[in-house]
Amino acid sequence: MNAVTFDHISRSVITGATGTIVKQVETLLDDGLTAREILNQGLMAGMSVVGDRFRRNEMFLPQVLLSAQAMKMAVDLLKPKLLDESEEGGNAHGTVVVGTVKGDMHDIGKNLVKIMLSGAGFEVIDLGTNVTEQKFVDSLRQSGAQYVGLSALLSSTMKHMKAVIEAIRREPDLDHVRVIIGGAPVSREFADTIGADGYAPNAASAVDVIKGLEAD
């Protein structure tokens, strides 16, 4: 077999090559590369291309889902090694709690955000749909997550985003938590009005928004 490179790993993510990616990652580990190098230079590089192409309508949802599957298989393999390599935990960027707010059962957009964030190396805790303010607060406290992503599809439920932000801001031990919102009826103006830290107009941009907050 020819030598496996980071480029091979990236391409496997981009093409959603679930049949080959695990073997390729194992080969690189055998060659002495660290899990973090494989994650950053192979997997995340590939997922970044996926995000860009998805945003530009050069790649579509089914292929993104396949890429995410390939990514997940590789990350599952690397996870124990990442924990060994890192003193501060295994995830490259941090942890994000995501959920659709109270009264709203829509989850397609939220699931896409989850896929894109997982693909970019974030640990994602998915609270599902119809999530109460208290459930967000409890999960943020238990997980120590740095970010929370709130989703709503309905004009009637997006007001609950404000209630979640207020509930988080009331807890002094959660003052490090940054809130990102998104969903069909949500706008940047609305995000500013309710005091969110970030607004993601689509799933792929959620990654950039959180990375932007990271850099602050």
Partner: protein, 354 residues
């Protein structure tokens, strides 16, 4: 001489102007909370309530359109209770199980298939058993334009199979999925036949294909495995003597030529949030398509009557020339739309009467 709603919409589809722009919604069009808010004490809950309430609602608003569909001979079957929400779970005639959680839209509990093999074996309901009586009654007893609601293979396909599973299988199981679309489209052609026999004036094919940012799936995939089937569906409805209005949410710019090639007569939704601007679309495609939309549902929910009135008047001014335009909201009038805003939208149509 006053013109009926039916004649007004027909003229618009024939690219002719009449006294005013036709207006109305697709499908049921308005949630019951909204109907009750508008017609107040006249709202009835008896067996014939739906007909009475929706007729009165449309007469009050000045709407020209009624949406109705072929009805299954069997009511949805109660199969249990949702473990988390405590709401009843029903099995519908497609074979999927659904529930209506409090304060939300219907959710899929159990799909029609969990493996591609199950999907291949899946059989759609026998459309021949469905009834067109409701459509026939609306036609007989009102002057509304009767727009029969049907679907095709995509939106309905993921509704009863589950969105992520559907999308993944388009990539992994294209042969099985094509067979699935064929079954769904064949059944919906059957529903259109029932509607035509019952006197419907046009057929709506409701089939969401896109996000606000663009198509869900690769347009080339649709061209290979989907649009040929949709084209056949449209052709069969034309052979029945009826025009087709196609509904999809989302940004359809990448698919416009394909939809035109399928032969559709009208396009509904044209959501401004998805970059679908009717005056602009009309400039490019107005000689071949009638556009139906596109008052933003969020504006109806959050705006003021003054804003809604202004936006509606501007749209009518910019889109009415030469017919080929029907005013509607960009989606179903939901319970969070303010009644005064919807009234302002409909009032603006009358104000702009020539």
């Amino acid at each position: 001489m006053s013109i009926t709603g039916r004649a007004r919409v027909k003229a618009a589809l024939n690219h002719q102007e009449t006294d005013r722009v036709p207006v109305g919604e697709i499908g049921g069009g308005y949630v019951e909370e909204f109907v009750r808010a508008i017609i107040g004490d006249a709202y009835r809950t008896d067996e014939d309530g739906y007909f009475h309430n929706h007729k009165l609602l449309r007469e009050t608003l000045g709407a020209d359109i009624m949406g109705a569909r072929a009805i299954s001979p069997n009511p949805d079957e109660l199969v249990g209770e949702h473990p988390e929400w405590g709401t009843p779970v029903y099995r519908n005639f497609w074979g999927s199980e659904v529930t209506n959680p409090p304060d939300s839209t219907q959710q899929l509990v159990k799909p029609i298939a969990e493996t591609p093999e199950e999907l291949e074996k899946w059989k759609p309901p026998d459309w021949g058993q469905f009834s067109g009586d409701v459509i026939a009654r609306w036609k007989r007893e009102t002057d509304f334009f009767i727009l029969a609601t049907t679907n095709a293979g995509f939106d309905l396909g993921y509704e009863i199979l589950g969105f992520e599973r559907f999308m993944l299988w388009t990539a992994l199981e294209p042969r099985v999925m094509r067979g699935y679309y064929e079954k769904l489209i064949e059944t919906n052609i059957g529903f259109a036949k029932i509607a035509a026999k019952a006197g419907a004036d046009a057929v709506l094919i409701a089939d969401d294909l896109a996000f606000n940012s663009g198509p869900f799936v690769d347009p080339d995939y649709l061209r290979r495995d989907y649009f040929p089937l949709l084209k056949k569906q449209v052709q069969t409805i034309h052979d029945l003597g009826l025009p087709v209005i196609f509904h999809s949410d989302g940004d359809l710019h990448m698919l416009m030529d394909d939809l035109l090639d399928c032969g559709i007569d009208g396009l509904q939704s044209c959501d401004p949030n998805a970059n679908m601007d009717i005056p602009e679309l009309k400039q490019q495609y107005g000689d071949r398509l009638t556009f139906m939309g596109n008052i933003d549902i969020d504006l109806l929910a959050q705006g003021t009557p003054q804003e809604v009135g202004r936006v509606t008047r501007d749209l009518i001014r910019d889109a009415r020339a030469g017919g080929g335009f029907i005013l509607s909201a960009s989606n179903v009038i939901t319970k969070y739309c303010k009644p005064e805003n919807v009234l302002a939208m409909y009032a603006a149509v009358t104000e702009m009467e020539r």
